[in-house]
Symmetry: C2
Subunit: 212 residues, 2 copies
């Protein structure tokens, strides 16, 4: 099965793919060459049906009993996510959260490559923060066009998030990873993925509050 570009895929399944990748890389590092979906399910406390459905989504053909080649599984998942080639991104807003993301080591395995950062503060512009130079926001459009950047990581305060987004969209950005606690308005062809800390905290709070 070849993944169909026109299809939409179930978000919970897509969210599980990095968890599979992380397990598969550990198994590969331990010297294993093949693994069954049943074994994957056991390790990750999922059902076998979930695992088979998730893997099928990426175009992997089931091989009951024989097991899957770990190498092929990793290749399929990475290719499905586009993580088989570098994803260059600009980061906008070099506060505490922006700096935390710059320092996050996990992005290498997701092929995310933050090539430049932007801020409006005169105290930050021109400095290097964790190895990346901070440019003034005015330079975003030219630099994004020149380097053909399609992904931006948005870590500005909520009150300037929409106006900043308008600049990003006008500069050819097609995917925004949004950490600002606000619902952004963008044209239909721009993808926004929100990391909502409030929503995550709500799930924890509600469960603690309704503990049987």
């Amino acid at each position: 099965m070849i993944p169909d570009p026109e299809r939409t895929y179930p978000v919970p399944s897509v969210r599980r793919l990095p968890i599979y990748l992380s397990l598969l890389r550990r198994l590969r590092a331990a010297g294993l060459e093949a693994v069954s979906s049943t074994k994957i399910a056991e390790e990750l406390k999922l059902t076998g049906i979930q695992v088979r459905k998730d893997l099928a989504m990426t175009g992997i053909v089931g091989r009951p009993k024989v097991g899957h080649s770990i190498h092929e599984l990793i290749e399929h998942i990475e290719s499905f996510l586009g993580w088989d080639r570098p994803q260059n991104a600009f980061l906008v807003g070099v506060g505490h959260l922006g700096t935390a993301l710059l320092g996050y080591k996990g992005f290498a395995q997701e092929s995310l490559n933050i090539v430049a950062t932007f801020d409006n503060s005169p105290h930050k512009i021109g400095k290097k923060i964790l190895g990346r130079e901070v440019y003034p926001m005015e330079m975003f459009p030219t630099m994004a066009a020149k380097q053909e950047i399609r992904i931006a990581i948005l870590t500005v305060p909520a009150r300037v998030a929409q106006e900043t987004t308008d600049v990003l969209v006008g500069s050819g950005i097609r995917g925004i990873w949004n950490f600002a606690p606000i619902q952004l308005s963008v044209p239909d062809d721009v993808i926004v993925e929100d990391v909502s800390l409030s929503s995550s905290l709500a799930v924890l709070s509600q469960k603690l509050n309704h503990r049987p």
Copy 2:
């Protein structure tokens, strides 16, 4: 309808509650006193059915045509989440991400109150970071017991996340907000809510990769 402590609630609905809260507070600040579920749905680009279902989950009784009292809606949602009283928490791991969370202003509205922070680094212990003193990890159990802390925010590196979790659980922590990119093992009565940056990035990458 009174929310039932034995029930489990749909996670997507719970995740939307802070978004309702944020809108309702904005409407209240603008001087409004009542709002219909249809208006809420319009503002948040949801369906009316979704909004009515989500609000009913918190025990709010539908009032077609009349609209809801904004004040009552806010009270119901806050009480459902336990956000109507302070939630004291300890933060463990004062790196870039931990510091970012300490500096995050949104937590006040979610009643989350980070009362102390912990780290193992001699360079950090005893310092104040954004107004909170950093204590050595050895002091966690005694301080958690004394202050009756049930929530911990975990922002340590993945390689020490499980051993740290064991200390938290042994110290009476019942809810862990986990930012470490690892699946934690905890007893059944401990709730873990993961903020998985990889999973969120996977959703963005996949959509960009399969753009029609």
